[in-house]
């Protein structure tokens, strides 16, 4: 976590800068003319209905899908701002296993199901050159405790864990080598409410403790309210409203945001 302090003051500025990002699938619009910044330690929520372009946007900014137009710039530790899609693929992949994390909605997409919990957490360490078994195992154990696992389960397979545990394991696996930016795609989707609440608490604690920058895609406004500092509301591939979370949720300006907020059931 010392790496995070290495960001030199004179280089202060946004960690990620998205400018006029546009993605067409043939003639179909994935997302159009999206621009926003993410600052160090900031949690940005992207909300909107299914098919509004949230996932396309997330893929484009996480270097998984090349946009048709526009740029995505990231502040690297040593070279300042770089345009992701001008970097060689090796450098992009290196960023993915060092400075970035990606938490998938379905933990099975983000975990190695045939590898024990410890191996799953240790993978990123080994991928960047850690070659001491004892150290890897100690770090893996520390992270299991951070995500509220019983240390005795370090050698168990992910398939023996419940959905909530798998999701927590996936989070540990992503955070183990101190990334600076984490992408989350519906991290609490498919979990029941009590497990969801526990996971959200954990995420909130980790994000503030590690000063992580997070881009979280969700259709659940309650999740957005709890985690995100700032919200981006999307509809039909375009951004219709942005602002502080409380501002957007308590006083939505755009008719679509108003509809979205009023659609939430009050138990």
């Amino acid at each position: 976590m010392t790496e995070r302090e290495e960001i030199r003051p004179k280089e202060n500025g946004p960690l990620l800068k998205v400018s006029s990002l546009t993605k067409y699938y043939g003639t179909i619009v994935g997302c159009r003319d999206v621009s926003f910044d993410v600052w160090p330690g900031e949690v940005v929520g992207i909300v909107g209905e299914s098919g509004s372009g949230k996932t396309t946007l997330l893929k484009c900014i996480s270097a998984a899908l090349e946009p048709t137009l526009g740029t995505v710039e990231f502040r690297t530790r040593h070279d300042g701002m770089v345009d992701l899609y001008k970097l060689p693929e090796s450098a992009r992949r290196f960023l993915m296993r060092t400075d970035w994390g990606f938490v998938h909605q379905n933990p099975r997409d983000g975990l190695r199901m045939g590898v024990s919990a410890g191996g799953n957490i240790g993978e990123r360490l080994m991928a960047v050159g850690e070659r001491h078994y004892g150290d890897i195992r100690t770090t893996a154990g520390d992270w299991l405790e951070k995500v509220e696992f019983d240390l005795g389960r370090i050698d168990h397979m992910p398939s023996t864990f419940s959905g909530g545990m798998q999701q927590r394991l996936q989070i540990a696996r992503n955070l183990v080598n101190g990334p600076r930016l984490v992408f989350m795609d519906e991290p609490t989707g498919g979990l029941d409410v009590s497990v969801q609440a526990r996971l959200l608490d954990l995420l909130r604690a980790l994000v503030s403790e590690l000063r992580l920058s997070v881009i979280i895609v969700t259709h659940d406004l309650a999740v957005a309210r709890l985690l995100a500092h700032r919200l981006i509301v999307m509809r039909r591939g375009e951004v219709v409203e942005t602002g502080l979370t409380d501002q957007v949720l308590d006083d939505p300006q755009h008719p679509y945001s108003q509809l979205l907020v009023s659609s939430v059931l009050q138990p």
Binding site: R112, G118, G119, R131, Y133, I136
Partner: protein, 291 residues
């Protein structure tokens, strides 16, 4: 030369079974493989007169490099007299007419399955391995596209996850054969299912080592005197197998031993898996006993 060729042709086959165009295609792949040690060069593997998994890759490589002046040795699990070894040796004897041998030192070309001979190889010799699965990352990454990319970008950290799992489960690196190696400090390679006992023999070997995978259509190579390093952890270094016993026939205590069940009452014996090496050692011992 022409007499040999004629004999093969009389049988209705070209010298060494494969036609000359196929041999040239395989030799091109071999040249590429030798120039990039450990890199899996694709080749258009042919249908051979034996099933996949019985050594079609090794046979095609042997057929492409064998010449009338060669002396051929074929081993299977270290032994010269197992079915697979006998059949492949007979196949080449018939289709090429070259001299065959069971002696490691006399052979110029050795095709092997699962072992490297105990007798150190020398310059000028060629060792041909039969490879079932050439891709070392397959266990962790099923997509061929992705594994090729990982090779291209040298992303091999994930290979250690397999070794990590071994230690977590068994307390030590339990992988005992097909143990992954880094060739020439660059490419991750699967040394075919040889025991890890043989891994150190690959390192800086004076002989040329060629690997053929027929079903997977890949050829790779370790040129003479090339650095071959087995993967390990700092606190769990690479180790080879050890036995408390020594060979029951020749008494060697530094060879790879096979355990043989001798009866149904728990009787067993340990003997060298390399039959040529064992015979070479047993002979002097027997002579001494006779004196």
């Amino acid at each position: 030369m022409s007499a040999l060729k004629n004999r093969a042709l009389q049988n209705g086959y070209n010298f060494a079974y494969l036609d000359e165009h196929t041999k040239r295609m395989i030799r091109r792949a071999l040249l590429k493989a030798v120039s990039i040690p450990g890199y899996q060069a694709p080749f258009a593997s042919r249908e051979m007169p034996l099933p996949y998994g019985w050594g079609t890759g090794g046979i095609q490589v042997t057929a492409s490099v064998i010449g009338p002046a060669d002396t051929l040795k074929v081993i299977d699990q270290g032994s010269d007299d197992t079915t697979n070894a006998v059949s492949i040796r007979a196949f080449f004897a018939r289709t090429t007419g070259v001299k065959t041998t069971e002696s490691t030192t006399e052979a110029t070309l050795i095709q092997t399955r699962h072992r490297i001979p105990e007798t150190p190889l020398k310059e000028g010799q060629i060792l041909v391995y039969q490879v079932p699965i050439p891709e070392p990352l397959r266990w962790l990454e099923p997509r061929e596209r992705e594994t090729r990319k990982m090779h291209a970008l040298e992303e091999y950290g994930v290979m250690h996850v397999k070794l990590y799992e071994d230690i977590a489960k068994f307390g030590r690196i339990a992988t005992s054969y097909d143990y992954p190696v880094i060739v020439n400090g660059r490419y991750l390679m699967r040394p075919s299912p040889i025991p890890k006992f043989d891994n150190p023999k690959m390192d800086n070997n004076p002989a040329l080592q060629l690997f053929g995978a027929g079903r997977e259509k890949r050829i790779y190579a370790v040129p003479p005197y090339t650095d071959v390093r087995s993967l390990d952890f700092e606190d769990h270094p690479f180790e080879i197998q050890k036995w408390d016993e020594s060979c029951a026939i020749c008494g060697a205590d530094d060879t790879f031993l096979d355990e043989i069940i001798t009866d149904d009452r728990g009787g067993r014996m340990f003997v060298c898996s390399d039959s040529d090496y064992c015979a070479g050692h047993a002979a002097p011992a027997a002579t001494e006993a006779a004196e």
